[in-house]
């Protein structure tokens, strides 16, 4: 009880410290200079209609590379932690069969989910979305497969090949930006095209597709390591 009281006191103190921040916050009236620069010059420099994509892929592309690396390390550690225990997990267990409705529905829904993921990838520079969201949607499609057929096995080789190829492609595209244009991950070595059409924004769609495949395969890897490997009755 005393312990909880002390904890509550700490929290109240924390809130008191940040409360002055909240009380004085009145909302922004105009963009700050850096955002203004992105808003005014982004469409002509990068050619992407979606300015968030422009920031993620080109202006702050190096951050994105770092974040993908963090995700990769997290997936690798999860695999390392849980793989060692799987050897003695193949004792027989009762697993209830999926109903026929879910199984038939999955054959209809899985291609649809993947199609939506592909749409989100490819239109990342025009509409909301892009590699991270599309990757998550594709991982959800894989999840649908393993929910409908719990015994289905992953193609691990394909997964790791996809992961490394897309990662290497991302870095190569960044280096191509250094060689052919002015800087790392500069997308203007391909023609920028007309703003708002699907073949615009230079290399952004290609870079985002590689990010998407990378994120999708990493999330799938996390799901796979957490999945229980069992036999159906």
């Amino acid at each position: 009880m005393i312990k909880k009281g002390i904890l509550l006191l700490i929290l109240v103190g924390f809130f008191a410290v940040i409360s002055s921040l909240i009380i004085n916050f009145t909302g922004n009236e105009a963009l700050n200079p850096m955002a203004k620069h992105y808003a005014e010059n982004g469409p002509s420099e990068v050619g992407a209609a979606n300015l968030v994509t422009a920031v993620v892929v080109t202006y702050r592309g190096l951050d994105t590379l770092g974040e993908i690396t963090i995700l990769f390390i997290a997936a690798a550690i999860i695999g390392f932690f849980l793989k060692a225990h799987n050897a003695d997990a193949d004792r027989p267990s009762r697993l209830r069969k999926t109903s026929e409705i879910l199984e038939t529905a999955s054959t209809l829904l899985v291609p649809t989910i993947f199609m939506l993921g592909a749409y989100i990838f490819i239109n990342g520079h025009l509409t909301p979305g892009g590699g991270f969201q599309g990757g998550a949607v594709m991982a959800s499609g894989v999840m649908m497969i393993i929910l409908a057929r719990p015994t289905s096995k992953f193609n691990h080789k394909l997964l790791s090949v996809l992961e490394s190829v897309s990662g290497v492609a991302f870095v190569i595209l960044g280096v191509l930006g250094v060689v052919l244009a002015s800087g790392f991950l500069n997308n203007s070595f391909l023609p920028l095209g007309e703003l708002g059409s699907i073949l615009s924004a230079g290399a952004i769609p290609i870079i985002y597709v590689s990010i998407g495949i990378k994120v999708g395969s990493e999330l799938t890897g996390i799901l796979d390591s957490l999945k229980e490997h069992q036999n159906e009755i």
């Binding site: 697993l95 209830r96 509409t127 969201q133």
Partner: protein, 86 residues
Amino acid sequence: MVNTILIMAGVLMALGILLALFRFILGPDVTDRAIAFDVMTVSSISVIALIAYFAGRVIYLDVALVYGLLSFLSVVVIGRYIERGL
């Protein structure tokens, strides 16, 4: 006129979500709560569409698209966990 009707519709949707939240807190079992969650997601799709209308941006509908296709996965996971099929 049109805006007034749509605001009334929004209020009714919010009330529906509130009732589902009531069942979520009350619900005696996990499955009841999963159903309440399902009702909340489906209702929030139309809330998102209303926000998109008031903002006048068609691109906001992409979020409703993802919810419409993926929100049932959460409920399926709960169901499969309960019947020991995960």
